[in-house]
């Protein structure tokens, strides 16, 4: 009796079968765990470059350019833009067919080719 155990789950086998051959080695990028732990990469990068900011001070120091300031500008600017989206969406969003042009959907049936036909 063979003791070879399957190393891949049924779902992983399906995923591999469906994926483009070049994407197979990178399927881990789509896992929930990877996406959840991704945060540590920019966190580490931010800390490292913030420390380096003291080693290489800016050529043109201004009020907002001391030490961690560029990191602060990046963090707060980004957060402001994203958080502003919540009230802005409530204020500016309307149903897709608001202008009566049928939901902004394009009629590109002639253009869409999901790969079943031939390429160029």
């Amino acid at each position: 009796m063979s003791d070879n155990k399957p190393t891949l789950s049924p779902q992983e086998i399906v995923d591999r079968a469906e994926a483009h051959p070049a994407a197979v080695p990178f399927l881990w990028l789509g896992s929930h765990k990877t996406q959840r732990n991704f945060i540590y990469i920019p966190l580490a990068g931010m800390i490292i470059f913030s420390v380096l900011g003291f080693v290489f001070p800016p050529k043109y120091p201004t009020l907002w350019e001391y030490g961690l300031s560029y990191a602060a500008i990046g963090f707060f600017s980004y957060s402001f833009v994203v958080l502003a989206a919540h009230p802005l969406f409530k204020m500016l969003s309307r149903p897709e067919n608001y202008y009566g042009e049928d939901g902004e959907e394009l009629e590109l049936e002639g253009d869409v080719d999901n790969g079943e036909g031939s390429d160029a």
Binding site: P42, L52, L83, F89, D113, N114
Partner: protein
């Protein structure tokens, strides 16, 4: 032969190729001929521009002169400023041709060739009349590309056409006033103080997507076909930047307009669900950097603008191509419908991420060199508020183009859509654009940054020397990027990142698509009702008069009734007295 070909603007070659393409039958046999024209004509134009300019020793080449209504027109003016636009327009024409090889549409091919030709013709225009002719041709040829998006793109195409015709009319009015006042139609630095200067600025501003005049970009571009949006993203807006740089460089007002242009699209892009519309807002945002640079007008700033035009055409084209590939395969670019496509389209995902890195100004990617030049020029000009706005906008760029587009299309939750990778011609076009996004930002003997620098318009390269790869610049740019990416990851993790939802987001176009339309309908309704009321009143009035006359003169009327002769005598006497009085006094 070469002498003949260099005796007129290369734009005419592209336009002639476009006309020829229109007569080539739409069949599988003749389609390759049209495609050969689509790639070959811009390639020939590129060679001719280079040959013409470098075959003489002057800094400006003037050619293709012709007389029109007693005015001398110069259809070919190649100098340090126009040549870089000419190069990148031709190169973009070639890339667009490769990207659209799979498409067997005669209208797109014809329009694309004429549109490219018009863009090149306008850039090399030596006078305002030539500029106006190509300016209008640009609008007319491109609207067919918008309409290739299908029946639902017709209203957007009409609005697009209306805006560009308005731009043309303003340019014509401005150039006529300017020409009559100065006696010259030469297209050089005009300035706002010149007669007609404001009108021309407004004309340029419409095409450049100035705030409140910008909606045609987000309205029309995302509605075009897969290939159409890629073609449209190149020429019109970049031509406007050229016109601003040529005509009104150093106008301080443009610095603030540019700052606003860079900031406000960021807020709209984060709300949008359609990723091609997100990129259209992103286009507006990048134009803001360029407009601010034109406003500063220093050597460094104008070099930065020229460099950013080149890089922007490459990375924005790349991003639009990647979304075009997604649309081609999946049938939608709605973020809410996508996700996990890296499994099916890994090469497209990589190219998209390269475009995203370039627009986000990651070191060793295009935007890091070009955008930094503009930001540095704004800083050196002492415009600290606009400098802060551009920094803020840089973080915003990371949100919409750097993260949102690649993340929601290729990663995020798995939409379960399994499609084939993009066609080979799309991959080739994306690959070339991606290569140059990196190559032109690499310093040293193996990099292409020096080639980019050599193309820049500055005649005093020493003064405009800009070294992007200083340790402090790299470190602080990476701080900004890493902090923004960390903010994204954190907001996603704590659930504060807004979900992608299907909706129509209101922008300034609401004023004419809804308010203006409602106003026109109201006026029309009031006019109809008023017309009906006036008709009723007139009928009533004339009816009353008729009745009164009938009452008096009809057989049954007063005058026909029997009356004593004494009364008739009194009436006649009274009338005679009245006549005598009138005659006596008058």
């Amino acid at each position: 032969m070469l002498d003949f070909l260099t005796s007129f603007s290369p734009a005419f070659i592209l336009i002639a190729a476009g006309v020829l393409a229109a007569f080539i039958p739409a069949s599988n046999i003749s389609s390759p001929v049209r495609k050969a024209l689509l790639i070959g004509a811009p390639a020939l134009a590129l060679v001719l521009i280079n040959t013409t300019f470098f075959s003489q020793n002057q800094s400006t080449y003037l050619g293709g002169t012709m007389s029109f209504a007693g005015i001398e027109l110069t259809t070919l003016r190649i100098d340090n400023l126009s040549i870089i636009w000419g190069y990148i327009f031709c190169f973009a024409g070639i890339l667009n041709g490769i990207f659209g090889l799979h498409e067997k549409c005669k209208i797109t091919d014809t329009s694309a060739l004429i549109y490219t030709g018009a863009g090149i013709g306008a850039v090399f225009a030596g006078d305002l009349i030539t500029l106006f002719i190509f300016w209008e041709l640009l609008a007319l040829s491109s609207v067919f590309i918008v309409w290739r998006g299908g029946p639902k793109s017709y209203p957007a195409g009409m609005r697009y056409l209306a805006m560009h015709i308005l731009s043309g009319v303003l340019l014509l009015a401005g150039l006529v006033i300017y020409g009559r006042a100065t006696g010259s139609y030469a297209f050089n630095n005009i300035g706002l103080d010149a007669p007609g200067g404001w009108l021309m600025l407004l004309a340029f501003g419409i095409k450049a997507g100035f705030p409140l005049l910008h909606n045609w970009i987000q309205d029309a571009y995302p509605r075009s076909s897969v290939t159409g949006t890629v073609i449209l993203s190149v020429f019109t807006t970049k031509l406007a930047i050229y016109a601003l740089a040529r005509g009104v460089a150093g106008t301080e007002m443009l610095i603030y307009i540019g700052g606003i242009m860079a900031v406000f699209p960021v807020f709209f892009a984060v709300l949008e669900n359609d990723l091609r519309k997100v990129l259209a807002y992103s286009l507006n945002n990048q134009l803001g950097f360029m407009v601010a640079g034109v406003g500063v007008g220093s050597t460094l700033a104008l070099n930065g603008v020229a460099a950013h035009v080149v890089i922007d055409i490459l990375f924005k084209g790349l991003l639009f191509m990647s979304m075009g590939a997604v649309l081609h395969r999946v049938g939608t670019t709605k973020a809410s419908e996508l996700g996990g496509l890296f499994r099916s389209m890994p090469y497209t995902a990589v190219f998209c991420m390269i475009g995203a890195a370039a627009i986000s100004a990651v070191p060793f990617f295009g935007g890091f060199v070009s955008k930094s030049m503009i930001i540095a020029a704004v800083f050196e000009d002492g415009q600290f508020i606009v400098f802060a706005m551009l920094l803020f906008a840089s973080a915003g760029v990371l949100e919409h183009s750097g993260i949102k587009v690649p993340y929601f299309a290729f990663f995020a939750h798995d939409s379960g859509k399994r499609v084939r990778e993009a066609p080979w011609n799309m991959l080739v076009a994306m690959g070339i654009a991606a290569f140059f996004c990196i190559y032109l930002a690499i310093p040293g003997p193996f990099g292409g940054m020096q080639y980019l620098y050599n193309m820049l318009p500055s005649e005093v390269a020493g003064e405009a020397k800009f070294i992007p790869y200083s340790a402090d610049h790299v470190v602080f740019q990476m701080q900004l990027i890493m902090a923004a990416v960390f903010a994204f990851a954190l907001l996603k993790r704590v659930g504060l990142y807004p979900p992608e939802r299907r909706a129509q987001i209101l922008d300034f176009d609401w004023t004419y698509r809804r308010l203006g339309l409602a106003l026109v309908k109201w006026i029309s309704a009031i006019w109809s009702r008023l017309g009906a009321f006036v008709t009723y009143m007139l009928k009533k009035f004339f009816g009353m008069i008729g009745r009164r006359i009938y009452q008096v003169f009809s057989p049954a009327g007063t005058f026909s009734q029997d009356a004593p002769s004494g009364i008739a005598a009194v009436l006649i006497s009274g009338m005679l007295a009245a006549v005598l009085l009138v005659v006596y006094f008058f």
